[in-house]
Symmetry: C2
């Protein structure tokens, strides 16, 4: 799967997109899907990215409670 480059977002667009992500309660699920893709080999990721995603997942999980 070719790595699609995200479009260049303005700061305002990026902030709006992140706000919608939390407003739709989808941030945790999104990171969970990416981790699953990496763990079952559907997506390549180096150790650094994988650890970043794990840390982000834990933070989102604890923030949610």
């Amino acid at each position: 799967m070719a790595k699609r480059l995200p479009p260049r977002l303005s700061d305002e667009e990026a902030a709006l997109l992140l706000d919608v992500l939390f407003s739709q309660h989808y941030a945790l699920e999104l990171v969970r899907s990416e981790l699953a893709d990496i763990e079952n080999g559907d997506k390549a990721a180096d150790e650094h990215r994988y650890r970043q995603l794990l840390r982000l997942y834990d933070r989102l999980l604890t923030e949610r409670e």
Copy 2:
């Protein structure tokens, strides 16, 4: 539905989350869901936010093609 405040994300966490959003090809669907919630009255939004979301949606749509 109480407006949940997104957790304070670091710039690095915000960039990672946005990257995953595009890597999972979910940005367009996410904005579409928020627009639908506003249009069917499930979510309150002022005119400014609604127009911002419409512009963002159009941009994501054209970038995708």
